[in-house]
């Protein structure tokens, strides 16, 4: 099992009445009213410090992602963060997991091929290349991408990036959305034929199909936790089977919010308000923002509405905005408690979901720097070592992990 620390880089100090005063945490919260650039600079540096610390204490990977005009996560240039992380972790056996630069909103998309190749060179072949479609908020509302074109743009950008990394010859790219006469990428990635590709998704069938066809790792990024993910991941594994692929747990990734303290009671004292802050303020997003017409292709739209899934996701989000810490923990939106509690629940969750690449969000909402560092330490010392061997007695290879880092524990042991 590979375990990476995920960071969203949230605003940690939103006002108490934020969710009553403002329409949304995403797209329209006014920066000048809500934030001070000097203070935000501190948040960025804490974010980098926390991720580098996670690398030092033994996490397998460190993850950042891309959002725009979003007070719960504002790394509009994830590769800027990734660059600092790659440099700071030189010599460490940690993957730089970019989850990642958004394909349909980067024009021309070879910009991502170039930047990822730079990161792979700087890190010495430690890059995992996340290829997100982008949320409707980021891609359509903020970056002006026509919803019905978003997936087509994504597929085309993906094909171009993969070809640009691998082609031995200069080529012309005659795409629908990108036309380039002379593609001859400098630099090329260290990893051959290319860095592992992870595709983040929220349960849509089209994304499963895309990941399977291209043999990429599918990552279910949900804030609703392991229990709520069971149905989706069961659907994914059924799909993988029907597609004729093996049930290799490393083919899938999952994101889980986790907080660890010395005891369950201490966890509640330390983390309750930060978890509630996350769901009340950071998840304060009008439902219709998620699905402007055309953001889902026709098949996913139809499936979502007819199966009731679209309605269910909406109801879950609205309910989550009201949950108390205890409800969040009961429902496993957050896996919280003593090291023993967290170990037990996480191992069971990973087994149930059948996932080999776990991402844990350890800085949640308003969680201050010191507390985050403690959460990272406790997780690394008392949880992480117990998760690692999860799939060791099965014959799977993590084909979606940088090759140079794949067997680091085994090498260290021998």
């Amino acid at each position: 099992m590979k375990v990476s620390m995920f960071h969203l880089m949230p605003h940690r100090e939103l006002p108490d009445d934020f969710e009553r005063r403002y329409k949304s945490v995403w797209v329209d919260p006014p920066f000048p009213e809500l934030a001070d650039p000097d203070r935000i600079g501190q948040f960025y540096n804490w974010t980098l410090d926390e991720l580098v610390h996670a690398a030092r204490v033994g996490f397998d990977g460190i993850c950042v992602n891309e959002h725009h005009q979003n007070a719960y996560g504002f790394m509009p240039g994830p590769n800027l963060m990734g660059s600092a992380l790659a440099r700071e972790t030189n010599g460490m056996d940690v993957a730089i997991v970019q989850m990642g630069a958004t394909l349909p909103t980067t024009q021309p998309p070879i910009r991502i091929a170039e930047e990822y190749a730079m990161l792979d060179c700087i890190s010495g072949g430690r890059l995992i290349a996340g290829m997100p479609l982008g949320t409707a908020m980021d891609a359509c509302q903020v970056y002006g991408i026509t919803p019905v074109e978003q997936r087509e743009r994504y597929y085309e950008a993906h094909d171009l990036i993969l070809k640009a990394w691998q082609s031995q010859e200069m080529f012309a790219w005659n795409g629908k959305y990108t036309k380039l006469g002379k593609v001859n990428l400098w630099p090329r990635p260290v990893q051959k034929p290319h860095p592992p590709v992870w595709v983040p998704g929220t349960g849509s069938y089209s994304t499963w199909e895309f990941s399977a066809k291209n043999d990429h790792c599918y990552c279910f990024l949900s804030y609703f936790g392991a229990k709520a993910a069971e149905q989706t991941m069961a659907g994914f594994w059924r799909f993988v089977d029907q597609f004729g692929l093996k049930q290799n747990p490393y083919r899938a990734g999952f994101l889980q919010l986790v907080v660890v303290a010395d005891s369950d009671a201490q966890a509640e004292r330390d983390y309750a308000r930060h978890c509630e802050y996350f769901y009340r303020k950071c998840m304060h997003i009008p439902l219709h923002y998620f699905g402007p017409p055309g953001h889902q292709d026709y098949r996913s739209l139809e499936k979502g509405i007819r199966s009731g899934l679209t309605l269910k996701i909406g109801q879950e989000l609205e309910a989550a905005q009201q949950y108390s810490y205890r409800e969040l923990v009961d429902k496993q939106f957050v896996i919280a408690g003593s090291p023993a509690t967290v170990r037990e629940q996480l191992i069971e969750a990973c087994r149930n979901l059948h996932i080999g690449n776990l991402m844990v969000l350890l800085q949640i909402g308003s969680m201050p720097h010191d507390l985050t560092m403690r959460n990272i330490d406790l997780f690394a010392e008392q949880v992480l070592p117990h998760l690692r061997p999860l799939w060791d007695d099965e014959p799977w290879e993590n084909e979606w992990w940088p090759e140079r880092l794949r067997n680091k524990e085994k090498e260290q042991l021998s």
Partner: protein, 268 residues
């Protein structure tokens, strides 16, 4: 969309057979092509009224014909969409029909009339979108809830017509059908309006030679009525009619008055 009595259906092939839209046809008299707005085609009382004096051809926008959602993929841009409409005219044996367009349909009608002025002999624009002024921005209605749209699109958001617009079928399957159809219609029309409907029409309007009538609801908050003059000032001889107690759907909010205005204009 269900066809009512006296309304016939035709299927035509455009863009080399890649798009096969359904066209609803009714009435007798000089031909009128009706281009629907962002929500898709509904056969409504205004079209009934129009069909009393004209042969009405009401095509469905590419992708919105049931069973053919992927047709939208064949229409890459506005240029394809304009050509699609000339193909459609050819298929229907319409040399130079009158074109009546509502909202998004008005924008497309104007594009068709501007690109090849010989293909449109009269043009009626009902609250068209397509122009942009920073001081009176057109509402970004594709990014709003239906309730938010009703607040700005109807003169009386509490009235029966507005409430009817919001009402969903009670049968779960029919409700799903309606929701999917409405969402996909906005997806397919939205392809030419995202993030807001300004695609350079202002540069082309001068080419229109068809006699043009512009109809606007006085209380339109979706596309402010001041845009009537923006259109009129760019289209030679265009006439503007403002409708009281109407907003963005004047042909449904004041059907009798608008139908008479349009019928008289087309008969002139």
């Amino acid at each position: 969309m269900t066809a009512t009595a006296g309304v016939a259906e035709r299927r035509v092939a455009t863009l080399g057979g890649q798009v096969n839209p359904r066209v609803l046809v009714a009435g007798q008299g000089p031909p009128v092509v009706y281009l629907h707005g962002a929500m898709g085609l509904q056969w409504d009382p205004f079209l009934d009224a129009l069909a009393q004096h004209n042969t009405v051809y009401a095509p469905e926008h590419p992708g919105t014909t049931p069973g053919d959602p992927d047709a939208i993929k064949a229409v890459d841009d506005l240029w394809d969409l304009v050509l699609h409409h000339y193909d459609l005219f050819d298929e229907l044996d319409l040399d130079a029909p009158a074109v009546v367009g509502h909202s998004f349909g008005g924008m497309i009608g104007a594009e068709i009339a501007a690109t090849n002025p010989e293909r449109v002999n009269r043009l009626v624009l009902l609250c068209p979108v397509g122009l942009w002024r920073d001081d009176i921005p057109v509402a970004q209605f594709l990014q709003m809830t239906p309730q938010e749209v009703v607040e700005i699109a109807f003169a009386d958001p509490q009235g029966e017509l507005a409430q009817e617009f919001l009402r969903m079928p009670e049968d779960p399957e029919q409700m799903a059908d309606a929701l999917i159809a409405a969402t996909w219609a906005q997806a397919c029309t939205g392809k030419f309006m995202w993030p807001f409907p300004e695609k350079g029409l202002h540069k082309r309007l001068y080419r229109i030679r068809a006699r043009t009538l512009i109809v606007w609801g006085e209380q339109d908050r979706l596309a402010p009525p001041a845009y009537a003059e923006e259109f009129a000032s760019r289209i030679g001889g265009a006439r503007v009619e403002r409708i009281r107690d109407a907003a963005h759907l004047p042909q449904l909010e004041q059907t009798e008055q608008v139908a008479r205005l349009v019928a008289d204009f087309l008969a002139e």
